[in-house]
């Protein structure tokens, strides 16, 4: 699009670039990259998630220098980091709250994609890679939470690894493999530590592919229409670099408020009790970002799928596990469940509202997941679970089919011209 990058004026840069064109590549994908000029602040959360990934890896590497992955020392080593390592408390609170901030960024990023139809053709693979990142993040955060070896670390690990035993035939084998023995114990802690160090780098790789796909299909935008020509775009730098930097600034203010003034607000106090395999805590609750799935897991009634005449087709536990994993896996087929040809909810008078019902549904599931599965909370979990799947499987295809979308603007550059009439 543009000529030779200006930085190639430098002899050394040019020498390198002729042998390995990394400067040309940078110029191409971080500077010239043509970006729709109308992106809103909702588009900041992608770069914020990337920022958090870097923060997690850097803080994690420093934690790893002082952490001891052994059931007898893990808890004490984390306390030692908090008390005796210079600024250890800072590093740990950055990492601990960083996981929450990472999920906040990614969840907003994901809902943004759902509102503006960013998963639809031609961005299906981009969307898939995003879900793969989410799954990897969940695995990473789950295993990271086990490392401090508090009560919730231990019992969370016990409950979640046990879910795999519901899988027919191979279930018990998988569980033994995860444990490295016959219960959550030292081998479990060791393998989780190893994987907790590994997976973030796998995420980096998938993020690379995610961005590669993005730069191939180009960014979606609030209007959800294609880029028609150069008049619709601006170069990524300096426009979006400046905007993303501002986003990072504001995001860091919120992050810092947690780290410095409420570092344990999002955590469970019980994780400051050393793990005790002989004492089950009253409530076993995962971190907040897992609560919706936890609610879905525990929502299935005992007689969910056919328990006639003493014959159980799918046991409640297995049904819960299927629904829980299904709630995420279903997102893979969202591009085909959504039958609307229009991407942006801005031009979809019905979906626009139904989308917010879905957000409320996820919030309700989050709440229900934090409560013991009884009374009203159980019913919220059941209704929420039902609506979650109803939304994706029934409403998405149906609404796309009968909804009459508003007229789309002709192009990003002249939205008002055609948006008004028609």
């Amino acid at each position: 699009m543009t000529g030779a990058p200006a930085m190639l004026d430098n002899k050394l840069v040019k020498w390198v670039d002729q042998r390995l064109p990394i400067f040309t590549m940078m110029q191409h994908s971080a500077i010239d990259y043509p970006t729709p000029k109308n992106l809103s602040y909702w588009w900041n959360f992608g770069s914020l998630a990337g920022f958090m990934l870097v923060v997690m890896i850097v803080s994690g590497v420093f934690l790893a220098m002082h952490y001891t992955p052994h059931v007898d020392y893990a808890f004490a080593s984390v306390e030692r980091i908090m008390r005796d390592v210079n600024y250890g408390w800072l590093i740990r609170y950055i990492h601990m709250n960083g996981a929450s901030m990472f999920f906040i960024a990614v969840y907003i990023h994901l809902f943004r994609g759902m509102y503006y139809g960013s998963y639809k053709a031609p961005r299906e693979l981009l969307w898939w890679l995003g879900i793969v990142i989410l799954l990897l993040m969940m695995a990473t955060a789950f295993m990271g939470y086990v490392l401090p070896w508090g009560q919730m670390s231990f019992w969370g690990a016990t409950v979640i690894t046990n879910l795999f035993s519901a899988i027919p035939f191979v279930g018990n084998w998988i569980v033994t493999l995860l444990w490295g023995g016959f219960s959550v114990d030292n081998p479990t802690l060791n393998r989780f530590y190893s994987l907790h160090y590994l997976l973030p780098f796998v995420i980096v790789g998938v993020v690379g592919a995610h961005i590669w796909a993005l730069h191939t299909t180009k960014s979606n935008n609030p209007l959800g229409i294609d880029i028609k020509g150069p008049q619709d775009t601006i170069p990524f730098h300096p426009y979006y670099t400046a905007k993303d930097m501002f986003g990072v600034g504001v995001f860091m203010v919120v992050y810092a408020l947690f780290v410095f003034f409420a570092p344990n607000l999002l955590g469970d106090p019980a994780n400051y009790i050393p793990a005790n395999p002989l004492q089950t805590p009253a409530h076993i609750v995962p971190e907040w970002y897992f609560l919706p799935y936890y609610a879905i897991l525990r929502a299935t009634p005992d007689n969910f799928i056919g328990s006639w005449m003493g014959f159980t087709l799918v046991p409640a536990k297995l049904a819960g596990v299927i629904l829980m994993f299904g709630s995420i896996l279903l997102l893979f087929v969202l591009p085909w469940l959504d039958t609307s040809r229009v991407r942006s909810a801005r031009f979809r008078p019905i979906y626009k509202w139904v989308f917010w019902l879905f957000v409320i549904c996820c919030a309700a599931l989050t709440w229900a997941g934090s409560q013991p599965p009884e009374g009203p909370a159980l019913w919220v979990a059941r209704l929420g679970t039902f609506y979650y799947f109803f939304h994706l499987i029934v409403l998405m295809p149906l609404i796309g089919w009968f909804e009459r979308p508003l007229a789309l603007p002709k192009s990003i550059a002249e939205p008002v011209l055609s948006g008004g009439k028609a």
Binding site: L90, T158, N162, S165, F182, P238, M245, I273, E374
Partner: protein
């Protein structure tokens, strides 16, 4: 050979999984401890040094008979306002087991500031044996490890009494247990640790139970988060810096975007 072990383990864990959500239904509902004002709360809160020093005295003379504080070193007391000589003298007042020496024997020597707080019992089993089978928990992080932190510990220490008349019929105090209005389940193995005038405060503060409870909770809150003051102090600077930075970045963004429309 191993199959039965595996089966038993799976059954036990499956039971734990299935029962976990059922168990919390207790005989008596947990009580939310009343909220109190603490000097160390809020954006600029700091530990009341005098209270923390008195609290240390309560810990030392009362709680230390049963509870350890294994993450704290004598040197850490400097942060509460004790000077170096006082810390040295305090540490020297304890006997620590060190070694082995050249002969391969453990020996006793006076404590040093670099030693951890000595523990009342050699191991958990001994601690249980001396306490009716119950384990006096390590108090280093207990304030962080309980819902409602300082409010809860205060309520616990001041919440002893007789079983109330309106307690459910099936509530029976087990032998060796004590009624406590705030402990989950309302039976606690810890006997009421505080009684009026139990310690003699050097600064003349009247040592009644609420006062001692307040002081020891302040001390334990410090023990749980010794970094708190440094953290908040740094936090104020970092947050102000980030707000200014964000303002500048916004100005830059505006300037860059001026010509786009």
């Amino acid at each position: 050979m191993r199959a039965p072990v595996r089966t038993m383990a799976s059954v036990a864990l499956a039971a734990a999984f299935l029962l976990a959500p059922v168990l919390p239904a207790r005989a008596i509902e947990d009580v939310v401890p009343p909220h109190r004002h603490w000097s160390f709360q809020g954006f600029f809160g700091t530990f009341d040094r005098a209270a923390a020093q008195r609290g240390f005295q309560v810990y030392k003379e009362v709680c230390a008979a049963c509870h350890q504080l294994r993450f704290i070193y004598y040197r850490d007391l400097g942060a509460l306002g004790f000077n170096d000589d006082e810390v040295k003298a305090l540490a020297a007042g304890y006997e620590v087991t060190a070694g082995p020496n050249d002969q391969g024997e453990m020996f006793k020597r006076p404590g040093q500031p670099s030693d951890r707080f000595v523990t009342p019992f050699p191991n958990d089993q001994a601690a249980r044996a001396a306490n009716n089978g119950a384990l006096p928990v390590d108090l280093s992080v207990v304030v962080k490890a309980r819902e409602h932190g300082p409010d809860y510990v205060y309520a616990l220490l001041t919440g002893y009494g007789d079983v109330p008349k309106d307690a459910p019929k099936d509530f029976k105090l087990q032998p060796g247990m004590n009624y406590n209005a705030f402990f989950p389940g309302h039976q606690i193995a810890m006997p009421p640790p505080l009684s009026d005038g139990q310690v003699a405060y050097a600064d003349g503060t009247k040592a009644d139970v609420p006062q001692m409870a307040r002081d020891v909770v302040t001390f334990l809150s410090w023990a749980a988060e010794p970094e708190m003051e440094a953290r908040k102090e740094m936090g104020v600077k970092v947050v102000l810096f980030l707000i200014v930075l964000s303002g500048l970045l916004y100005a830059v963004k505006r300037k860059v975007w001026r010509d786009v429309h």
